[in-house]
């Protein structure tokens, strides 16, 4: 079966600074893949390229066999994307924002209203559906973004820090939701710094460090390669993370 996402030797630069160096990986249908890396490693940039928001500088990217950026509009029709930094139209209500998102994706009106009602109820947002988004808390906004990403029943779901700001119950619900969506055949690329969640929900892990892909494999294979037990230790080993204690000591000393 051909991969649903093919990311082949991709190079990307912001303002002449190369941030992705010939990265290659692929995602197969029904996989839940964790995308890990330190801040500024290139995770969000990779996700944006797959979402058709950024055009790769070199290399080839395709989603469901559709090349990017040439077929970006068709690709966007098939993906659900939860961005890292949530920009929303603040003066719209939650209901209006979801209606806009669904209609732009061409969801039939009755289906759209039914899905909005069900998702908002599941997220305990029904009573706030007519409130403007600028009155929502961070967690409520995140729920709206997740709802908008799912409304059109996409094949591929790109989640960039989806649990940011969510309360404990909502976070548990999203983890279960990811597992259920994967069981239903959806492909999920999940970027996060919360490693225990990645450990629980992902079949496979990609680790990007300084713009290069340094690991690609199942959790068991990464544990075996690095001789570490937890994903946190695997991550620290692969990214050569220094101990945090000296940094803490420096900050405390500077404040004296």
């Amino acid at each position: 079966m051909p991969p649903i996402v093919s990311f082949d030797r991709v190079v990307f630069s912001y303002d002449y600074v190369e941030v992705l160096h010939e990265i290659s990986f692929s995602l197969r249908a029904g996989e839940v893949v964790g995308l890990l890396g330190p801040n500024g490693a290139g995770k969000s940039t990779s996700i944006k390229i797959i979402a058709g928001i950024l055009a790769p500088g070199r290399g080839a990217v395709s989603v469901a066999g559709l090349p990017l950026p040439e077929r970006a509009v068709d690709v966007k029709q098939r993906i659900g994307y939860v961005p890292e930094a949530a920009a929303l139209f603040e003066s719209l209500t939650g209901q209006e924002f979801l209606e806009l998102s669904g209609r732009l994706h061409g969801v039939e009106e009755d289906t759209l209203q039914m899905r909005i009602r069900e998702i908002l109820e599941a997220f305990a947002l029904s009573s706030e559906r007519s409130s403007r988004l600028d009155t929502y808390s961070k967690g409520m906004r995140q729920k709206v973004l997740i709802a908008a990403a799912l409304l059109h029943n996409p094949e591929l779901i790109l989640l960039d820090e989806p649990l940011s700001g969510l309360d404990v119950n909502a976070a548990i619900m999203i983890k279960d939701l990811i597992a259920s969506l994967a069981a239903a055949g959806k492909t999920i690329l999940y970027s996060s710094h919360v490693l225990d969640v990645v450990e629980k929900v992902c079949d496979r892990v990609l680790i990007i460090h300084k713009g290069s892909l340094i690991a690609d494999g199942s959790l068991d294979s990464l544990r075996a390669t690095t001789h570490r037990e937890s994903l946190e230790d695997v991550f620290r080993t692969l990214t050569h993370s220094a101990s945090v204690e000296p940094g803490v000591a420096r900050i405390v000393a500077a404040l004296r």
């Binding site: 303002d15 979402a51 055009a55 970006a72 966007k76 920009a87 139209f89 603040e90 061409g106």
Partner: protein
């Protein structure tokens, strides 16, 4: 009406241009709702109230001009050409700026960039408001001149409808050309350079106008080469091809480039702490004054909206400075008028523009930081802001002084510099009161763009009066200049603390409002 407008015929027409009608109308409704709810401030074409005011302003301006020209008995051809040229100039300036606002700071496009919308649909929806602007502004520019033209000798009865139709056709041409210019810029330029080049493109009409004003003699002697008359058809075809390809490049890949435009900031540079900041702190303002100075002086260089506001005045400033430099050999104390007489008052115009626009900023969302500052800090911040402005007075004078000394001698150079600094400092003391709140802490508003011309005209008028009074009353004797310098120094000395107190109050007041305001979408996405 809405039903017919969105009916099958329009849909077919939109389809023919590669525009998806369903998504197009969804976006039109979205942008309308965002403007109505005051989330999109920065676009003149989406603010009906401001657009109406601008239109009335144009009615008054074109009405006054046509009365003057009809009374002067101008020939009909010259009259029509003058007004068509005037309209093209104004519409080019306003529509270029509006297109730039719509396309170069694409915050709402960032929210929509992962939605399945093709470039043609998005840019068509984004630029439809240019047509709305034409519907408001063109009547303001053309109706009164068209009717007044009937009073000219030999004017046929069909002149008014023909003239108004010609104005609309030219307006449409200008709107399409503005879009095509930005289509080419977006296609050809690296995203990081787009804002800077876009700003320059916006300033071109003003630059052209200033060159025309100052070098009419050159334009009077321009002879169009004969070959261009023969090749006029070819040139028109070339222009149309360029415009069509510009529009096509705008529509084809805009949404793919949006994130790159947003991310492609120019670098801030490696500027460290400035010695003047240290001086400001040491002079009694403390760390807060240093903070205010560093914040304002850096934001003045980096804030895109502020820089593009200033750029509209840049040609006038450059011309004035150029005039001053050209006449630097002539002492203002000698007989006769020189451009150096205008030099001190140029600061008044500059500070008027700066102080009335500096509280708008693209990074206005970052203003929450000031809500955390202790109340006592704002006195220091106000002093820091003043210091940043005072540097704008001190630096040019320090640069100019050796040249003045060389050409005029020490006494005249020092006297003129002292007088000029005193005048500029007095202007600054007054104009500090125009700053409404913390600099760069409010969302840009559409009124800024169309206010450029009236501001330039008003500023030029006030400056002309001040320069005239100064020339006849003061510069006839050095003693009068010395005495005036002393009086103005004293005025600046006493007025400045009062203005700083007022600025401090204004900052506190507006931060109080800010804390209660809802958030708006517009913020800086590049420099």
């Amino acid at each position: 009406m809405k039903k017919y407008l969105r009916g099958p015929y329009t849909s077919r027409l939109l389809h023919a241009f590669g525009i998806d009608p369903v998504r197009y109308w969804l976006l039109i409704d979205l942008f309308g709702a965002l403007s109505e709810r005051r989330e999109l401030f920065s676009q003149l074409g989406r603010d009906g109230m401001t657009l109406q005011k601008a239109s009335w302003g144009y009615y008054i301006m074109s009405g006054l001009l046509s009365i003057v020209l009809v009374i002067a008995g101008m020939q009909l051809n010259t009259y029509a050409t003058f007004f068509l040229g005037f309209s093209v100039f104004l519409l080019t300036a306003v529509l270029l700026s509006e297109t730039s606002s719509s396309l170069v700071n694409p915050v709402e496009a960032l929210v929509l960039s992962h939605q399945p919308i093709n470039g043609a649909t998005y840019t068509a929806a984004k630029l439809t408001h240019l047509l709305r602007m034409l519907l408001h502004l063109v009547p303001g520019l053309s109706l009164i001149p068209a009717l007044a033209g009937l009073f000219l000798k030999g004017c046929p009865w069909y002149f008014p409808p023909l003239f108004v139709a010609a104005e609309f056709a030219l307006g449409l041409l200008v709107a399409l050309s503005s879009c095509a210019v930005f289509g080419w810029l977006i296609r050809l330029l690296p995203p990081a350079r787009l804002k800077a080049v876009g700003m320059t493109a916006e300033a071109l009409p003003w630059l052209g106008w200033m060159i025309f004003q100052f070098r009419r003699d050159v334009f009077a002697h321009i002879r169009v080469p004969a070959w261009t008359r023969d090749a006029v058809f070819g040139l028109v075809v070339l222009g149309v091809i360029l415009a069509v390809f510009g529009l096509r490049s705008l529509s084809s890949d805009y949404l793919v480039r949006v994130a790159a435009i947003a991310h492609g900031r120019s670098r801030a540079g490696r500027r460290g702490r400035s010695w003047f900041g240290g001086l400001v702190a040491a002079m009694g303002g403390g760390p807060a004054a240093r903070g205010g100075y560093e914040y304002v002086s850096r934001m003045m260089r980096r804030d895109w909206q502020f820089r593009r506001q200033l750029l509209a005045f840049a040609p006038m400033t450059v011309m004035m400075l150029g005039g001053a430099v050209r006449s630097v050999k002539l002492s203002p104390f000698a007989r006769g008028f020189t451009a150096m007489h205008m030099f001190p008052h140029a600061f008044g115009v500059a500070f008027f523009v700066i102080c009335s626009t500096i509280f708008y900023g693209n990074d206005h969302r970052g203003a929450w930081l000031f809500l955390l500052a202790p109340a006592g800090a704002f006195r220091g911040v106000a002093r820091g802001v003043y210091s940043a402005f005072f540097m704008l007075i001190a630096a040019p004078h320090a640069i100019l002084l050796p040249f003045l000394f060389w050409y005029w001698g020490l006494a005249d150079a020092l006297l003129f510099s002292a007088y000029s600094v005193a005048v500029a400092a007095t202007y600054l003391a007054f104009e500090l009161r125009l700053i409404e709140g913390m600099p760069f802490s409010r969302q840009p508003e559409a009124t800024q763009n169309f206010m450029v011309l009236p501001l330039m005209m008003a500023g030029g008028f006030v400056m002309a009066i001040a320069v005239g009074l100064q020339y006849f009353l003061i510069f006839h004797s050095r003693a009068a200049v010395l005495a005036s310098s002393a009086v103005l120094c004293a005025a600046a000395y006493y007025l400045t603390p009062l203005s700083l107190e007022s600025l401090e109050t204004s900052i506190r007041f507006h931060l109080g409002i800010l804390s209660a305001e809802t958030k708006a979408i517009y913020h800086e996405v590049g420099a």
